[in-house]
């Protein structure tokens, strides 16, 4: 296709990395269809590729190579560990269709293991006391980060496992749409009550909950024979899965109310939403 215009004035700033993202896009789209501009850009990039030679020669610390190699080896070890764990999980019945938990799990471990391996390698190699002190601080930070990642990972794994239970129950058990409701700020939310096929297992509620007003929380209840049993309260909005205190039976009522503080022993306000089993 013949181009009606060229972008010769943009090729140099593009090659030098001096264009805004929008202008970069213009150039990219243009050269995809314009041979003269593509050739000119290639020439500009070749010249720009020579510019690093204009820098005064400097040399990194010898230690850097050791750090780099340690980091790469750490990643290999982490990947190997993950593959093993993945196989183990597959063997224990984890499904390929799990909702991305394994990948997020992998990212945590990969990052944590690579970072820790690199820091530890450098720490061991350091001889000078001030470097050791600096690296000790970095190691402490890295260790704290790993601990935090492990905690997050445990939480994530628990959520994934819980989510799996809910999904399995949705497929094989019974569920009821509790319906939609509005909180005090008028935002809509909804929830689903789930009873696993095994009638001895406790029921669950999967809900998308808005943030509760300050000083309040949304509390979940099971009402049986006129008596309300608390299933806990949530203050922070978002997707949540809550266990009910008992297996659900016909005639039970599952309901949310908004309560003061972190919840109460009995409902003090009208139910925001409810469903009868």
């Amino acid at each position: 296709m013949t181009q009606l215009f060229h972008v010769f004035d943009m090729t140099a700033p593009y090659a030098l990395g001096a264009l805004s993202p929008e202008d970069q896009l213009v150039v990219r789209e243009h050269i995809a269809a314009c041979e003269p501009c593509r050739v000119e850009l290639a020439e500009m990039q070749n010249v720009v590729g020579m510019l690093p030679l204009a820098c005064e020669t400097a040399q990194p610390d010898d230690e850097l190579k050791r750090r780099l190699v340690a980091a790469a080896q750490g990643e290999i070890k982490a990947k190997t560990m993950l593959r093993r764990r993945s196989r183990t999980n597959a063997g224990s019945g984890e499904r390929a269709g799990e909702p991305g938990a394994l990948w997020r799990y992998a990212q945590y471990w990969l990052t944590a293991a690579a970072g820790l391996a690199a820091i530890v390698a450098v720490f061991i190699a350091m001889n000078q006391s001030h470097e050791r002190e600096r690296m000790a601080h970095a190691l402490a930070q890295a260790t704290a980060r790993v601990t935090a990642l492990e905690a997050a990972n445990t939480e994530l794994a628990a959520k994934a496992e819980h989510g799996h239970d809910v999904m399995a129950s949705l497929a094989t058990g019974s569920y009821w749409e509790m319906g939609r409701g509005q909180d005090a700020t008028g935002r809509t939310w909804h929830s689903t009550v789930v009873q696993p096929m095994d009638e001895n297992k406790n029921g669950m509620v999967m809900a998308s909950v808005p943030n509760a007003p300050k000083g309040m929380s949304y509390q979940l209840w099971v009402v049986r024979n006129g008596q309300a049993h608390s299933a806990g309260a949530v203050q922070k909005g978002g997707m949540t899965i809550m266990d009910l205190p008992m297996p659900l039976r016909k005639g039970d009522i599952v309901a949310f109310s908004m309560e003061h503080g972190a919840g109460t022993g009995i409902p003090t306000r009208p139910f925001l939403m409810e469903t009868a089993i």
Partner: protein, 189 residues
């Protein structure tokens, strides 16, 4: 064992061979570090940039495509981009140009340029830059080594944007002519 080519090393990286990473590092750590140090101006930051760049290449080796440019171009491009990112982050400036990791255009390197690169000395490139008209050299340095966009350069130098574009283009074309002339001239003698 004869030296492995850059492409062989990248293939080794893609297979997870750390020895390939070590060889690649031995080959390009000085020029990569020199570039990073020139841009960020501080040893620790320059080393961080270099390590990040080599690790990025290590992780993405499997996606390398020769037709998109050489290994050296790729590696130095990553070093450059990360250096500019670090510079902008430390200066808390929003230069509004998130830089790509990889060259995204075919970077043809005809024989003469491969030869130029292989034999070119740093002093020749510095001389070539020094020989440029001051405003062209300054514009190129502000863009490449200081991470300014062409719009920012126009503001800094107090000239219209079109003037900056022209200076950058003319400057690079003159550099190209100078460097080709140097190497071709040497080759003829």
């Amino acid at each position: 064992m004869p030296d492995r080519s850059d492409e062989d090393l990248i293939a080794a990286l893609a297979r997870g061979e750390v020895s390939g990473l070590e060889e690649l590092y031995d080959r390009y750590n000085k020029i990569g570090y020199s570039l990073a140090y020139r841009i960020v101006g501080e040893r620790n930051s320059a080393e961080d940039v270099l390590q990040e760049a080599f690790l990025a290449v290590w992780r993405q080796a499997g996606s390398f495509r020769r037709e998109r440019g050489s290994v050296r171009t790729w590696l130095l491009s990553v070093v450059h981009h990360r250096s500019i990112d670090k510079l902008r982050a430390s200066a808390s400036t929003s230069a509004a140009s998130p830089l790509d990791e990889l060259p995204d255009t075919p970077a043809d390197e005809p024989g003469v340029w491969q030869q130029v690169w292989a034999e070119l000395r740093g002093d020749l490139v510095r001389n070539a830059l020094d020989d440029l008209p001051a405003e062209q050299r300054k514009s190129i340095e502000l863009a490449y080594f200081s991470g300014y966009t062409h719009v920012q350069i126009a503001e800094l130098m107090g000239v219209p944007l079109g003037t900056v574009k022209g200076r950058l283009r003319l400057g690079l074309l003159k550099l190209k002519g100078y460097l080709e002339g140097q190497k071709l001239g040497e080759a003829a003698t």
